[in-house]
Symmetry: D2
């Protein structure tokens, strides 16, 4: 019997991506699609790449519209998920692709988002130690942010093996879809093509506390993160270049062993062979993660780099992977590790 899934926020990039993946998922039947300002419009005009759904018309995002489904994906502006989730009842699997339920620390939430904390849901990054158990059978899931997904997967094996000092420096380049579909002057094609630029510099980006939370939990100590996101002239992809001082005694071999151990059985994380480095183009449209790590002896640092597709593994693919776990399906059902390249 098919799993019936609804998507709230179906006209945006996260909503469109989750629909692209659900259309290829053998166990899912797509139910209600809702929007906000786009309610009443055909999906064919809003998401012309989703041909099989072209004639679907978006409804309003209301509890009534979303009722009667097994799974509801929320792709809403932050602050709106709690009210919707409450009305859906405890037996519906609610997967929030927004930020509302990612942080455990209410003070962190309030400092970075300026509103009351809605709560904390099981965190949809199955590769993190302990996460799979919490996701199996869960009815509420908070999908990680795209940058925290990339940075955590690049660095956590080093922290898990106590090979890195607790001060991480993360510089990540993101494709423009990470900034969403609401039109703003600095996101125009004319502005972004041929240009790289940083934003949220100096600790202000809202994904910073999420990285600290993830890496600190693995490290077992408080860590600091200096995070600088940059906007790159490409539609999709995150390349996260992460480093930290090497702990005493680290060698290239111990580092490699730590990553091999962490990722030996992970279906979506591809620890590249020595000498090959991640490229976002290679994971375009897939749920794969490319990871590589090096030891810079002269500088005394480890450098770990990951590449993901921000919309797939960084958002909608991570959501579907977590849904599979929650529903007791094989974790890889409907998800691909094959990029669309070149």
């Amino acid at each position: 019997m098919a799993v019936r899934a609804a998507v709230a926020g179906a006209s945006g990039y996260a909503g469109g991506e989750v629909l692209r993946l659900l259309l290829a998922h053998p166990e899912v039947e797509i139910g209600a699609l809702t929007g906000n300002s786009n309610a009443g419009q055909r999906l064919g005009g809003l998401q012309p790449h989703l041909w099989p759904l072209a004639d679907r018309v978006l409804g309003e995002t209301t509890a009534d519209a979303l009722a009667g489904h097994d799974v509801v994906f929320l792709a809403l502006p932050h602050g709106q998920s709690a009210a919707v989730a409450e009305q859906l009842g405890p037996d519906v699997l609610v997967i929030d692709m927004g930020a509302d339920f990612r942080l455990a620390d209410a003070a962190d939430w309030e400092r970075f988002y300026g509103s009351p904390h809605a709560g904390t849901w099981p965190y949809g990054l199955p590769e993190l130690p302990g996460a799979r158990a919490a996701l199996t059978g869960a009815k509420r899931i908070a999908v990680p942010g795209c940058y925290p997904t990339a940075a955590t997967l690049a660095l956590f094996p080093a922290y898990a093996a106590r090979l890195a000092e607790p001060e991480a420096v993360i510089v990540a380049a993101s494709g423009t879809s990470g900034a969403g579909k609401a039109p703003k002057p600095h996101l125009l094609g004319s502005e972004v093509m041929g240009s790289m630029s940083p934003y949220g510099v100096g600790g202000g980006h809202r994904h910073t506390p999420e990285m600290i939370q993830n890496l600190g939990a693995v490290a077992g100590e408080r860590i600091t993160v200096s995070f600088t996101p940059t906007l790159a002239p490409m539609p999709r992809g995150i390349l996260a270049t992460c480093s930290a001082k090497a702990a005493p005694g680290v060698s290239a071999e111990s580092l490699r062993a730590a990553y091999e151990k962490a990722y030996a059985d992970e279906p979506f994380v591809h620890l590249l062979p020595p000498g090959q480095w991640p490229a976002t183009g290679a994971v375009h449209g897939s749920n794969a993660v490319q990871v590589q790590v090096a030891h810079d002896e002269a500088a005394g640092r480890i450098i770990a780099i990951s590449a993901i597709d921000n919309l797939t593994k960084g958002t909608a693919g991570g959501a579907v992977q977590s849904m599979n776990l929650a529903l007791g399906l094989d974790e890889t059902t409907g998800l691909s590790t094959i990029g669309v390249a070149p």
Copy 2:
């Protein structure tokens, strides 16, 4: 029982794309992979997006290496397919993604390619009138060129309905993967990003006689084609802008009716609703074709525009679609109509 498929030329763009599609094909098992200068190398270093095949090593392209498969895909430089095909025996399905067997007219071949004509195989464009019958059960298939695929699907319904004069003007923009993976200065990223440029202007492009052949067969008369290809700053996609003088009595309604008739039952061709125009981004990585047509009364012309992914529907997707027909499988098996966008 799985169909065993070999790919000759697995390190190039066409070979990589056919492997991407075959990995998702439920009836196919991937057998031998061969290359030329890259024989002996791991596929993981050559096609890093094809993770499940990363540890495969390319063999030499020899009859021995390709023997023992049900299907052999040839992605070879033109002029090399005939010799390979001969050695494979008549019971093996040989699908040539190169040009060698596309043209029926030996004189055309010799004028455009400067070498003896190898022959003519069933033409792998199932949407063309009569093509499906020739492909069903076929053991040899010539996959159309990417530009002829786009241009033929844009224009043939108008010629089939006698709505266009026999002088077509076709201007097409192609992504750079159409030019292949052999490194040449004018294909460097530095050269193509931010620039549009034409090539093969004035009738010299080798895809011109193939367009004339396709459209002339449908029109039932000799037609001329003025074809100008241009190189666009994107990795994939063809946008074909095609026009011809309107035949006497053409109206917007008769035009629409002709296209609706031609494409009513086609699983991969999406005739867009009036007012919506094709975009290559919407078919990225999919086997879908977007088509739209208009009547410019003031200029007395019909304008038909199509968008395809040059590597998918324009090459490897068309090859797999034809393979499905030849093998008696459902034509859409393993192929998607959903683009990877944005």
Copy 3:
């Protein structure tokens, strides 16, 4: 004594480009800068590439603000130029980079713009036969549209020499800056990168009557134009692929001779040597025009192709070139023929 120039609409792409050129013009001193919704803001935040003007603050676009200058450049939405120009007095040189005064035929204007015709000013395309005389000493100048600039310069020599039949087919690819800086969803970087798409298909684009006007005047007869604009994934540049049936007796030699005659003394038009084709990258940021022409004997057509930078020769460079003529300066003052490539 310096020419004092004001720019109305200084925060948009046309306004920014004219400022970039005026900053390098040895005879011009930049006076008032005005905006609309951006009045009161520093230019440094709006046009960060114009460093020498970073601390200038935009005023409101009023007659008072623009008074007291020798030249006023108008980069306004169409329909607003006439009212401003009237208040500036007959001795001020007013250069309209918008559409209001380009068309001679009031009925054409009303059909394409849906508002009363404001009038007709000398047309700022000096390369057109007769245009220089009308521009010398002029006090009002209508800068051509970007597409008409590219298409006219590609085709008019063929019409002037009676080598082309009066039915032109023009397909042009434009960089996204041609669509302006007002944020709209389809102009987001995420949407345009990796995608080509047409718009205004079937004769609806407002630049069509301007092309008909220019080419018809040279041809000495009524011509039709089938014009299809497409949006290309690059910030700047227009590649115009233009063709028409060859007149009886046309040869490659007669065609070449016609273009050599037309462009022998033109400082900005570069008729490329035989075999070399235009590329928008080669004229990026310059006032140069690359042109090439071919005779397709099999199709019986001539194909003429031009490349310009839509913001420079297609808008602001054409404006400055015309200003130079109007003021009696050397036509090339302050303008470059050297592209910023790669």
Copy 4:
């Protein structure tokens, strides 16, 4: 009397860029142009954007061809400059845009380049403390690498003011022209568009010792640099994201003051107003440098970011700026601070 300049290596990107700038330089007359594999070819086919030089034919790179000029720019593969320079005589100004004479430490050279050290020439980064004096009247100049230019200008004011600990972490994104014009598969447009990827990770990039040399000299102590270069999908530009632990007592105010002091009188360095961040698009084609700095209190680090055009300020613009100083001209002659945007 004009300065006569020759360019060896005129067909590559560095050579093309220095010619673009010299064409706009009022005191320079362009003399001999030489190439290697391209000798005998017209420049118009190799550098189609340099129209005024289109009919120049490249000579062989020999001492004879380069003799008789006041200035010789060398854009040669590393290891070839010393032999050429020796034959040119001590009175000719020789400006090496390659790496041969940048490093003071012979052991560093040998470790990173694997060949004997040719020597050390005055270092062409006028903004570095003490550099202008060494460049004034110089007859030999080593132009800095593009990454060291960006990173040094981002960080040195912090080191000069003792505000940063001696362990710098630098992640830089570069446009593809930095990798040169020799065609290699990973530099194809198809590969780079839509993809970000790192290279030379872990301390292996040859620009690392140059950064250590520059920053260490300013800091007055030995520093380490962890440098990760990444390839970005754009033709030009470097965005350097640089950080270091803040020294005790650092505040946002002390940091701002240090940068204001360092750059108060620099004609090419634009310290942006607080809140505005560099973008490579804003300096495209110009010699300008955009710099901004922040204090991340939570992470205890300073973050300094710069944007340059790798071919202009990062190579050929830095070369012309240094030439101006060496010849006693105004340092800004022929150089622009205005980017070509969008």
